[in-house]
């Protein structure tokens, strides 16, 4: 180094050569960093267009169906998407079962009855959910109408599917991304809190995703057994049936196999 340029921060004047060098350096670093940021944003995976109507609550009227997971068969609602049902979920990382139990403790059994609930809508890819934001206070009224129990045809419906277990609340609108490795712990937390597990399966013939609600045999909750497999590519074998606009896959959680694939 040229010792004439020796400079220590507490000196009042910086030698001109040092100042020049630093100016050049800061400019180069600045340009490089800006370029880096733009490159990083460019190659990012794009986000889905799912919606969480955070901050605004909507009333939805429909027939309450408790099994396998709480949902409403819509009779009156003003939704932005065309869906036959809304899946009910709790506030934060919880399912809606306990909230519905609390509501039923006050208002009597509601299964198969037409009720009105208010909450925050979550929707995307043809699926709608309602977050019971005010928990027990989400119940508005019951109309007195009811419907016959749903009948499920489970004959000849054993299938094998490979996909990722998601928590529907985050995936269908609350978080972006609500899938994959980064979100994995959150999905585990949600399922652990009783959120209905959803299996997302890529259908290469139509280039779309198909979604399946996962449950044990006869609707038994198996969330805790699914936790080790959340957010990974997993192959399931089970019995599939249709309930409203949902596919439900009944599986034996002891017979799950991991599949080596990336989390696309």
């Amino acid at each position: 180094m040229s010792k004439k340029d020796f400079y220590i921060g507490w000196q009042d004047e910086m030698p001109e050569s040092t100042a020049k060098f630093l100016k050049k350096l800061v400019t180069i670093v600045g340009v490089l960093v800006v370029g880096l940021v733009i490159v990083i944003v460019t190659f990012q995976r794009s986000f889905n267009d799912h919606v969480f109507e955070f901050g605004s609550q909507t009333e939805v009227t429909g027939v309450y169906i408790a099994e396998p997971y709480p949902m409403l068969q819509i009779t009156h609602a003003n939704l932005a998407i065309d869906a036959e049902s809304v899946l009910l979920v709790g506030f934060g990382k919880f399912g809606a079962s306990e909230i519905m139990n609390e509501i039923e403790a006050e208002n009597g059994i509601l299964d198969l009855q037409e009720i009105t609930l208010k909450g925050t809508l979550i929707y995307g890819d043809g699926v709608a959910l309602l977050e019971l934001t005010d928990q027990g206070d989400s119940f508005v009224r019951k109309s007195g109408n009811f419907r016959q129990p749903l009948v499920h045809d489970k004959s000849n419906s054993r299938i094998s599917l490979t996909g990722e277990i998601l928590d529907p609340k985050c995936y269908f609108g609350v978080m972006k991304p609500g899938e994959g490795k980064i979100h994995k712990s959150c999905a585990i937390r949600c399922l652990s809190g009783g959120m209905p597990p959803v299996l997302r399966v890529w259908d290469s013939s139509s280039n779309t995703y198909n979604y399946y609600l996962l449950s044990g045999k006869n609707g038994v909750e198996i969330n805790s057994e699914l936790l080790p497999f959340v957010g990974e590519m997993i192959t399931f074998e089970g019995v599939v049936y249709t309930q409203l606009n949902w596919n439900v896959l009944e599986i034996d959680p002891k017979k799950i196999t991991r599949t080596l694939a990336n989390n696309e």
Binding site: D5, L36, Q44, S185
Partner: protein, 362 residues
């Protein structure tokens, strides 16, 4: 004489023997911080604007988590590169002078990232969010599924300990040895963060460009460290000194030392800086008491040896910091015979006065 002073030297505001200040601001530190925070705001702004242009569907939480992650990680790379760059080229030294403000700023940004991520992914659930960080994903067997949050969590704790102890009060009260050890653990934090990114974000955002950038960043940091280390090693092994009578060793000719500068030598494990100033020659231990900076790469300013890192000062004749400071260095006996400089590589007790050798006028 005691400009060392105006006490402006203290990067965090150290004073060994003088009153501490929160930050002893001076002109350099002010411009340093203005440029630093200008850059931080700039990175955040470019990130936010390009996200809104290219990915308008992004949520606010994701925007905050990613913007702070990227900014902190870029700053950490810059922080780690400053050390070896300053060893390779002295023009980088002004960046080192106030590096701790860079470090603390980086920690604060990383803290926002950590806090937001823990709230976003772990709060409002059925267990304590911090417990959830450790228990939600327990798949330690597969690298691709490894619970990467834990790596980030521990890195953040290390960065916290460093930021919390960055004031020179801690250098004194923890002892320089413990302080230095604690602050060298930045490399552990860096390794944890590389793994945190590789097993976290890059398992989802898996475009090859991201891997290329991560590897390039890591290669730049390690490459610079190896180059700087190799340079030092080469310099040390090149120099061989034969001991002569009375234990004195001939080190160089007087013309090899520039005025007000030093020649550094490594003899029998002794790291010695030999200074020439005002027709005198004095030798002291080449390691600054503050943060072990290389005194021999400094200069005589206002009659004092001045460390190139943070400007700590010592009198060359006795290795003592000028009052009211209390640091002292080992000194060594030197002789000038003809045009040759000789040094006795046995250290005298710290602060011992040694009559400077006179340069013979020719």
């Amino acid at each position: 004489m005691l400009k060392f002073a105006d006490y402006g030297i203290f990067s965090g505001g150290d004073l060994m023997g003088v009153k501490y200040e929160a930050v002893l601001w001076n002109r350099q530190k002010k411009s340093y911080d203005i440029i630093l925070w200008g850059m931080i705001v700039g990175i955040l702004l470019v990130f936010v604007v390009s996200q809104f242009l290219m990915h308008p569907l992004i949520t606010l939480e994701t925007l905050i988590i990613r913007a702070t992650a990227l900014t902190a990680f870029v700053l950490l790379h810059l922080i780690l590169m400053i050390g070896p760059l300053a060893r390779l080229d002295h023009r980088f030294l002004p960046l080192l002078y106030n590096r701790r403000h860079l470090g603390v700023s980086m920690f604060l940004i990383a803290l926002v990232h950590g806090a937001f991520s823990i709230i976003q992914f772990h709060a409002l659930g059925d267990v304590n969010p911090i417990v959830s960080v450790f228990t939600s994903n327990q798949n330690y067997q597969a690298i691709s599924e490894f619970p990467f949050q834990i790596l980030g969590f521990f890195a953040l704790i290390i960065l916290f300990l460093m930021a919390a102890t960055s004031h020179d009060f801690w250098l004194k009260n923890l002892s320089p040895k413990i302080w230095k050890t604690l602050h060298i653990s930045v490399y552990l934090a860096y390794a944890l963060l590389i793994a945190h990114v590789a097993t976290g974000a890059l398992q989802y955002e898996n475009h090859p460009a991201y891997w290329a950038i991560l590897i390039l960043g890591f290669a730049s940091v390690t490459g610079l460290h190896f180059t700087a280390g190799f340079n030092d090693y080469k310099r040390l092994t090149k120099e061989k000194y034969a001991a002569l009578e009375d234990g004195f060793v001939e080190v160089c000719t007087i013309n090899e030392i520039q005025d007000d500068c030093a020649k550094t030598v490594f003899i029998n494990g002794e790291n010695i800086a030999i200074f020439k100033y005002d027709g005198n020659v004095s030798a002291v231990h080449n390691v600054c008491k503050h943060q072990m900076g290389p005194l021999g790469e400094g200069k005589i300013v206002d009659g004092c040896i001045t460390c190139p890192w943070h400007g700590y000062q010592y009198l060359p004749q006795n290795g003592q910091a000028p009052a009211p400071f209390t640091e002292t260095l080992h000194t060594y006996i030197v002789k000038v015979i003809g045009s040759k400089v000789w040094v006795h590589p046995t250290p005298k007790p710290e602060g011992t006065f040694i009559e400077p050798a006179k340069v013979e006028q020719t």
